[in-house]
């Protein structure tokens, strides 16, 4: 019995002609303290997998299990970092995290709670921005707050939904390193949803591709046997890293091509119209 398990899970939204099957026949087992990355194209249903484990979505058929028990709803044992940060804009950094801590550890005294919150703000290196509101922070800092909020719940499982997707490349790299550092210090089960192959290989023990939807299913797992702790700079010159990346990228592009050729729905004819500005722009370019 695995720690976390998706057994033949299908998810469909809507009914009748509007029924959209997002996931179909998903089987995934995650061991305790394993770092798993699910990689896939955008719109393929990655977030739905995360929502299933978070308890935010119930499967249409199949089972979602933790230690063999079905997951029926959200719980404090699972911390979630959403793609869009989901910080409460009217609360400061401190208050955003405190709201979670107060909810998860109601038995803490105010002093304990304070030091707990401050500790996790320190973990993501945001102590100087303690009293700032999310709107005063950069995207990277906001995502740090969201991570700190999830970590401060001290969950058994961390569910990360494209946490660095909206960040610029440099910030993303920094935050990936931070995430790795934090995880190395305090290992726990992590499910990372991503569309970045390098990010998946750098962080995860295992990378699972999600085939493009609709009716998306999981592809074969890729074990990442690179030694830990991993260092980004070493990875760049590591032949094993290169070969894994080529393998996964190759598989994904093969999937992409297959899905395009499978898609036999007639393409509606497009009107032969072009914005005038665009047309003139093009012609000047040609000149």
């Amino acid at each position: 019995m695995s720690f976390l398990e998706l057994r033949d899970v299908s998810v469909a939204f809507g009914a009748g002609s509007r029924r959209a099957e997002v996931l179909s026949g998903i089987d995934l087992a995650i061991e305790e303290n394993e770092f798993v990355a699910v990689i896939g194209f955008s719109g393929s249903g990655k977030t739905t997998i995360l929502n299933l484990l978070a308890g935010l979505t119930q499967p249409t058929s199949g089972e979602v299990l933790k230690r063999g028990e079905p997951i029926l709803g959200p719980g404090h044992d699972r911390g979630v970092v959403f793609q869009s940060y989901s910080l409460l804009p009217w609360l400061s950094v401190y208050a955003n995290i405190e709201l979670a801590v107060r909810q998860v550890f109601p038995e803490m005294t105010p002093a304990e709670r304070r030091s707990h919150v401050e500790r996790y703000i320190d973990v993501v290196k945001l102590t100087p921005a303690l009293k700032k509101r999310p709107s005063e922070l950069s995207g990277g800092m906001r995502q740090r707050v969201a991570i700190a909020r999830a970590l401060a719940m001290r969950p058994e499982i961390l569910l990360l939904d494209e946490p660095f997707g909206a960040l610029d490349a440099i910030t993303r790299a920094t935050l990936q390193d931070e995430l790795l550092r934090i995880w190395e210090e305090d290992r726990r089960t992590v499910l990372l949803i991503t569309n970045d192959v390098d990010e998946a290989i750098l962080t995860a023990d295992r990378v699972v591709p999600l085939k493009p939807g609709p009716r998306a299913t999981l592809g074969p797992s890729f074990e990442i046997d690179l030694p830990r702790p991993r260092d980004r700079r070493e990875m760049n010159s590591c032949p094993r890293f290169e070969s894994i990346r080529n393998e996964i990228s190759g598989y994904l592009s093969h999937l992409g091509a297959a899905s395009r050729s499978q898609d036999r729905r007639p393409i509606p004819p497009k009107p032969d119209l072009r914005p005038r500005v665009f047309a003139t722009l093009k012609s000047t370019h040609a000149v």
Binding site: L56, P74, G75, V80, L88, W90, Q103, P134
Partner: protein, 391 residues
């Protein structure tokens, strides 16, 4: 200092002053001067042009109540109203000072009554009465009356003192009193509207079923004019609020309820919209944290809807103020509206100009109320990505 001032200007929603502050600190004078020209000079020039047109038109409009007042006539009327107000305050003060001396005089006369001579006289009367009754004299009756009259003298003075102490100045309310009454009424009505509209709006936003139940009622009553509510309120309030015993005057209550009935809709609709359009991510946070319904309401839903709630409140207060003036005018409830009605009825030499003063007063107070709400709205929207526009 500069940033502090800029922030204050922004919070006070006085954006026109922003370039003025920047210019005083020497920041990029050409740009600031251009901005001042646009946002300060142009509006002032437009207002001056408006005054000019008004003047030219007023000279040529002759009515039964005389010529239409020109700006200086209106200004003079405003000055006279101010003087009347000051005079009235003085008169009122004199009355209350006089009241104290009247009470003092009565109190001293009461002490005089308690003199040894009077006590002796009462004693003698009692003795006379006792003797007369003992001898069954026919004069016993007359003696009893004399004694009772003498005894009740003190009680009579006491009740006079009581009356004098609570005597109230009975002069007509001045223009500023009317303004104060109107403001009290509008805030009372606005408070009633808020207390009704916000909870119902939140319920509507939270529960689609409740929304379905309420929306036909909202759609039905929202377009009803204040003029229709007014007589109904007057009758109902008149049945339950007694002018003599009630703490609040019936006219005040019925005006306030009319204001409430007309102004609660914008708050209700905006609150419902604000709650219903809450960011789904925020609700997911509430679910992941497993917040109780109450915590979710107080920590997530209401804070998230606050900017829109305040947008609604701002519109409501504006509507309430307009409705109130009409209600006062039609129902001759005390306040600015009644002032206009009185001016219309008495047709004095300055009445026409006084109405113009009232128009500007209503406008300026409405503007100030709106600014107040904009400031509150901004204060609760701090940190939001897109704060509602402020016009």
């Amino acid at each position: 200092m500069k940033n502090f001032l800029l922030k204050a200007v922004d919070l006070a929603a006085l954006n026109a002053l922003d370039p003025v502050v920047r210019l005083t600190f020497g920041e990029d004078p050409p740009t600031q001067l251009r901005k001042i020209a646009r946002f300060v000079v142009v509006p002032i020039a437009a207002f001056a042009a408006f005054l000019g047109i008004w003047w030219a038109v007023a000279e040529n409009v002759v009515t039964k109540s005389g010529k239409m007042p020109t700006p200086p006539v209106v200004l003079a009327a405003a000055g006279d109203m101010w003087k009347t107000h000051l005079a009235s305050i003085e008169q009122r003060q004199r009355f209350y000072q006089g009241r104290e001396s009247r009470v003092a005089a009565l109190e001293s006369s009461l002490t005089d009554l308690d003199s040894p001579a009077r006590r002796e006289r009462l004693e003698r009367l009692r003795k006379d009465l006792a003797e007369a009754e003992a001898s069954a004299s026919p004069r016993a009756e007359a003696k009893r009356f004399a004694l009772e009259a003498a005894e009740s003298q003190a009680a009579a003075v006491e009740s006079q003192i009581e009356a004098a102490r609570h005597a109230r100045y009975a002069g007509a309310p001045t223009y500023l009193d009317q303004i104060a009454t109107s403001l009290k009424t509008v805030f009372f009505g606005f408070a009633i509207a808020t207390l009704i509209a916000v909870p119902i709006g939140v319920l509507c936003g939270v529960s689609p079923t409740f929304m379905a139940a309420v929306s036909p009622l909202v759609a039905l009553f929202k377009p009803v004019s204040p003029i229709v509510w007014l007589p109904i309120c007057g009758i109902v309030v008149g049945a339950y609020v007694d002018a003599e015993t009630s703490l609040l005057a019936p006219a005040f209550v019925s005006s306030a309820i009319t204001v409430a009935l007309c102004s609660l809709w914008p708050t209700l609709v905006n609150t419902a919209l604000g709650v219903a359009s809450i960011d789904k991510d925020h609700l997911n946070v509430a679910r992941v944290l497993r917040l109780s319904s109450w915590t979710r309401l107080t920590k997530i839903i209401i804070p998230s809807a606050l900017p829109l709630i305040f947008t609604g409140l701002r519109i409501s207060l504006g509507v309430g103020w307009m409705v109130l003036i009409a209600a006062e005018l039609l129902a001759t409830n005390p306040g600015l509206g009644k002032f206009v009605w009185d001016a219309f009825q008495n047709g004095g030499s300055q009445s026409f100009a006084q109405m113009f003063v009232a128009v500007f007063t209503v406008g300026v107070i409405g503007l100030l109320l709106d600014r107040l709400m904009v400031i509150l709205q901004r204060a609760v929207s701090v940190g939001r990505e897109a704060s509602p526009s402020s016009l």
